[in-house]
């Protein structure tokens, strides 16, 4: 507990060191390091520079929120961190591997082993049971079926859904669906849990419930990265990176971020 609280204090300075050493594999403790990450899109002849050189360094066991208004490049950054996309320039190191130069199938393998996705719209297979949905990453990891089942049940129990394993998504509430998605994200014991607006489709009570799940996971040592545009959701993380126009605007501990938000937009923090 003590260490995870302390890391953000010195992170800006350390980040500066880690992200300057182009081409050098970072130490094991750094689960994510990006160096000068750039991504451009061609939107009908007009070049949109979604990311314009982003340096991010995240240690193991950190709980980080990436925040920013729409168009700030946070979705692009999430796609890159989630290995769904590759940068046009810059380096991306995930768990000591240079992911930015990997081919399609290698990226699929990294997504399968290192990343657990939680989406705004849950993205569960509608016709499959909760158990089958959670088993899916294990299927692609080549885990034999009896072990798959055991691990999927364990993951569902971890999110308090041990009694819902045969339910299909349409038989579950929004909060339960998102917890199935979290169980699916955790079942392969990924290096990072990557959540994209995890509470975007949930009411505030259920949002709090999901945030508690994230808090518990972070406390138990899981690295969590959450992308959101809501400051009060971002404030649940221990460190908040704010993006604007494809660049990092600020990178603060939770306390400092909340302080700043109260000054800038006091109405948002108390809902």
């Amino acid at each position: 507990m003590q260490t995870t609280e302390e890391v953000p204090l010195s992170v800006t300075a350390e980040r500066a060191v880690v992200t300057q050493q182009a081409g050098k594999a970072p130490e094991k403790d750094w689960v994510i390091v990006t160096r000068g990450l750039k991504r451009e899109y061609d939107m009908g002849g007009e070049i949109v520079r979604a990311l314009r050189g982003v340096d991010v360094a995240i240690r193991r066991n950190e709980y980080v929120a990436i925040m920013g208004p729409s168009g700030s490049g946070k979705s692009t950054l999430m796609n890159l961190i989630g290995c769904l996309d590759t940068p046009d320039a810059g380096e991306y190191w995930l768990s000591g591997d240079l992911v930015s130069s990997m081919a399609d199938d290698e990226l699929a393998r990294v997504r399968n082993r290192e990343i657990g996705f939680v989406f705004q719209t849950f993205n569960l297979l509608p016709r499959a049971t909760a158990l089958h949905n959670v088993e899916l990453p294990l299927v692609y990891a080549g885990v034999p079926s009896d072990e798959r089942r055991k691990r999927a049940i364990a993951a569902l129990e971890r999110v308090q859904l041990g009694n819902r394993i045969t339910h299909r998504p349409n038989e579950l509430s929004g909060g339960q669906r998102q917890r199935v998605a979290i169980a699916r994200a955790l079942v392969n014991e990924p290096a990072i849990l990557l959540a994209d607006e995890p509470t975007g489709n949930l009411d505030s009570t259920t949002s709090e419930e999901i945030m508690r799940v994230f808090e518990d996971l972070a406390s138990s040592g899981q690295t969590v990265i959450m992308v959101t545009h809501e400051p009060d959701i971002a404030a649940h993380a221990r460190r908040v990176i704010v993006l604007r126009d494809g660049m990092i605007e600020s990178d603060d501990r939770r306390e400092r971020f909340a302080e700043k938000m109260q000054i800038a937009a006091p109405s948002v923090t108390h809902k």
Binding site: D104, R111, F119, N123, L136, V139, Y140
Partner: protein
């Protein structure tokens, strides 16, 4: 993704959309159905030709000397005209031919024609009547239901007696015992001495419409010119080599017809093989038809499956995105859709096999065509079914596997 999981997934898709799946499968089902039905009927005819037909009409271990072949394949009109000018087989040829063969060889000389047959209980009818000499009944392996066969004394004397087929017996002697009753054959008075056991039919033609009389009886003057035979049947003793027998007959006949070595035969020695050659040439054409027609159904089936799979890929873009995000590689997505297409069309093929067997059974029940389901055609049906699925699934599956996960996740 393990193969069995993919199959289970595909079967679940079929269960969810029964009607759509049924129409998807229709092309493959019909194609395989006709494949099985046609192959079954051809195979049935084939085993029939090779066993019953040859046994009944030609006889095992038997060769027949004729002026021109009875069953001809690939013979042009000009050849037929040329063969009609060849010399006839004569009664005087019999002894030299028989002498050239090992003892124990059976022979029968036959002359036959369609003549009017009548009795006092029935109006006249045209039928095939044969005037025979030698071991005719032994070679035909004819069993007698009533009465007896024609004795060798009657053969030698030319006594006007006949052995008749079962159908003739019931037609000309309704509710009567035909034995020792008079029968007019080509206007000549004959007496019935025996009725043969029913021989069944070939392709719906009865084999029980015949009248057999001794060669030396007056019938011979009606069926042929003096001394002329239509056929000389030779049955080799035991398991004698048929090629050697045929060769011996040829040599005797060539010398009797005074042919120079450069000249071709001007007579025909037919064996069961030559009858089968004819059948084989028909069979290969039938098999081609039996493969080409179902192929059309299968091509249509393949196009339908390809379309349905493209629709499935479009409908399930988001699912593909989710699977990719969770770590599915291109080949995982590819094999998922390929297995789905293959499973779909294999199910269609299995339905086709079942209905093909039923169709073959129905055809053999209502028509004289026999049907035997060949095991290889079932295996071929399944392989063809799976193959059609895989081929028609390649394009949709590769499209699915190339989807960009980010775009796919944003679908719908």
């Amino acid at each position: 993704m393990p193969f069995l999981d993919a199959v289970r997934l595909a079967l679940a898709q079929i269960r969810v959309q029964k009607l759509k799946s049924f129409f998807t499968l229709l092309g493959v089902t019909i194609g395989v159905m006709f494949l099985i039905a046609v192959v079954s009927i051809v195979e049935g005819m084939s085993s029939y030709m090779e066993h019953d037909f040859v046994g009944k009409l030609v006889g095992v271990n038997t060769v027949t000397l004729r002026q021109q072949p009875e069953i001809g394949a690939n013979i042009s009109d000009a050849q037929w005209r040329a063969m009609r000018r060849w010399p006839r087989v004569l009664m005087t040829d019999v002894q030299p031919v028989v002498d050239a063969l090992p003892p124990g060889t059976l022979w029968s000389a036959e002359g036959y024609d369609n003549v009017f047959v009548a009795s006092q209980w029935s109006p006249p009818k045209q039928l095939q009547a044969s005037a025979v000499e030698g071991d005719y009944f032994k070679i035909r392996e004819m069993k007698i239901a009533k009465g007896r066969v024609i004795t060798s004394q009657e053969m030698a004397m030319g006594t006007p007696v006949v052995v008749i087929g079962e159908e003739i017996a019931t037609r000309f002697f309704p509710n009567l015992d035909p034995i020792n009753r008079p029968l007019k054959v080509a206007g000549l008075p004959y007496t019935v001495v025996g009725v043969a056991e029913s021989q069944g039919s070939i392709f719906g033609l009865s084999l029980d419409r015949f009248v057999i009389a001794p060669y030396r009886s007056p019938l011979r003057h009606v069926v042929n010119k003096p001394n002329v035979l239509d056929a000389l049947k030779i049955k080799a003793a035991g398991d004698a080599d048929m090629t050697e027998t045929t060769e011996a007959i040829r040599q005797v006949m060539r010398s009797r017809h005074e042919l120079r070595p450069s000249e071709p035969d001007n007579f025909t020695v037919e064996s069961s093989e030559s009858a089968l050659t004819f059948w084989t040439s028909i069979k290969s054409k039938l098999v081609i038809a039996g493969v080409v027609l179902p192929a059309i159904g299968l091509v249509v089936g393949a196009i339908v499956i390809m379309n349905i799979m493209l629709v499935a890929v479009a409908e399930r873009t988001r699912e593909i995105g989710i699977r990719k995000a969770l770590g599915a590689r291109r080949r995982d997505i590819m094999s998922q859709f390929l297995v789905e297409a293959a499973t779909l069309s294999t199910v269609g093929a299995i339905l086709g096999i079942i209905s093909g067997i039923l169709l073959a059974e129905i055809i053999s029940a209502v028509s004289p065509l026999p049907a035997t389901v060949a095991p290889w055609s079932i295996v071929a049906g399944v392989i063809v079914g799976a193959g059609v699925g895989i081929i028609s699934g390649i394009y949709p599956a590769s499209r699915a596997s190339r989807l960009d996960p980010i775009t796919a996740l944003r679908a719908e």
